[in-house]
């Protein structure tokens, strides 16, 4: 690994992998929440009062995506 790190900039590869892998999960999660919300509203239009709750769940999931983004500044 030390020999590879001399020739190739492994920090950049590490950052790229962390960003790429880190955004898959929250993307899928937010898509599932959004899909279920739209299905519920389509079935019963009075369910649109739960929009605030859905945004709360989206922000909780978004935290993990932002932690992956913040790893750019942690890995040297």
């Amino acid at each position: 690994m030390i020999l590879i790190a001399d020739a190739v900039n492994t920090a950049i590869i590490g950052k790229g992998l962390m960003i790429g892998g880190g955004f898959i999960g929250p993307g899928i999660g937010i898509g599932i929440i959004g899909g279920n919300y739209m299905a519920a509203v389509g079935r019963n239009p009075e369910a649109s009062k739960f929009l605030g709750q859905a945004l709360v769940f989206i922000a909780i999931i978004e935290l993990f995506a932002l932690l992956a983004f913040a790893s750019i500044f942690i890995v040297k």
Binding site: G52, V56, L63, L67
Partner: protein, 279 residues
């Protein structure tokens, strides 16, 4: 031709992740985010106190209406989370102030002068207060401190410790689950503060990158992202408040509930016996 375009090239977008020191007062260094936090605090005080004096029974438009909507929304949220509404009424002023404080700090961080436009000693003079991890950690510690102190005062220290365990703590299974509940409680400070800090800082980075990409059209290319950041700033302030209210309401409701609400081994057999006797 390419040489002319080369004149616009520079080394890359300038992003600031941490806050820089501006001046010192008697040996205490003041950073640019602390300085802008003071300015925003003064603006918040002046705005809210003048609006409170102008409150009338008949509704008026403008900023008064906006503040009234915000206060009504958060007040309804706090009071409806507690089982016993009067218990929740004494926490409303703190959460409404917290919501407007975070909202003003997030929104006033998007004003065009904040960032690398105004510089002093080579460092930016102003930086949004919530864009500094020290600041959001302080707000998070104070809020969770309020949650712990309030739940211990409402329910008593013994009931508060007992509300983590759903059965007899001498049972190793319930002891393990209770310790995991306590640990989850302690990670709430970090998750609340890091969520707010990262949302604001990453918004600043995105705006800086897009302002760099449109070199002389920077106001045009960064306008959509500034509008997105308005929405994100309001949403993050609301989420901070709603999560803290939920944590407070869950601890207080659970710690002051009657103890027969948790079903453990003895109580389950007791209830089955009672129901079979009734039938």
């Amino acid at each position: 031709m390419i040489g002319i375009l080369g004149g616009f090239a520079s080394s890359g977008p300038v992003v600031y992740i941490t806050s820089k020191d501006i001046f010192t007062i008697h040996g205490v260094t003041i950073t640019n985010s602390i300085f802008y936090g003071w300015i925003c605090g003064v603006i918040l005080l002046v705005t809210l106190i003048t609006i409170a004096k102008r409150m009338t029974v008949k509704p008026k438009g403008g900023l008064t209406q906006f503040v009234e909507v915000g206060v009504g929304f958060i007040s309804n949220l706090v009071e409806s989370s507690f089982e016993d509404r009067e218990r929740g009424t004494k926490y409303v002023p703190y959460f409404v102030t917290l919501f407007f404080f975070l909202l003003f700090n997030n929104w006033l961080g998007l004003v065009p002068g904040v960032g690398e436009a105004i510089k002093i000693h080579g460092n930016p003079l102003l930086r949004p207060f919530t864009g500094d991890l020290n600041a959001t950690l302080a707000v998070g510690i104070i809020t969770m401190g309020l949650v712990y102190v309030a739940s211990i005062k409402e329910a008593g220290a013994k009931d508060y410790i007992k509300h983590f365990f759903i059965g007899n703590p001498l049972n190793p299974m319930y002891l393990f689950l209770g310790l995991i509940e306590m640990f989850t409680d302690m990670t709430r400070v970090i998750s609340l503060s890091i969520r707010l800090f990262l949302n604001v800082t990453i918004g600043e980075i995105v705006i800086a990158v897009f302002a760099y990409l449109g070199s002389f059209l920077a106001p045009v290319t960064s306008a959509p992202f500034t509008i997105i950041e308005l929405f994100v700033g309001a949403l993050q302030a609301y989420i901070f408040v709603i999560l803290s209210v939920m944590y407070l309401a869950i601890s207080v409701n659970h710690a002051t509930a009657e103890h027969s609400d948790d079903l453990t081994d003895e109580l389950v057999t007791e209830r089955i016996r009672l129901q079979s006797e009734k039938a």
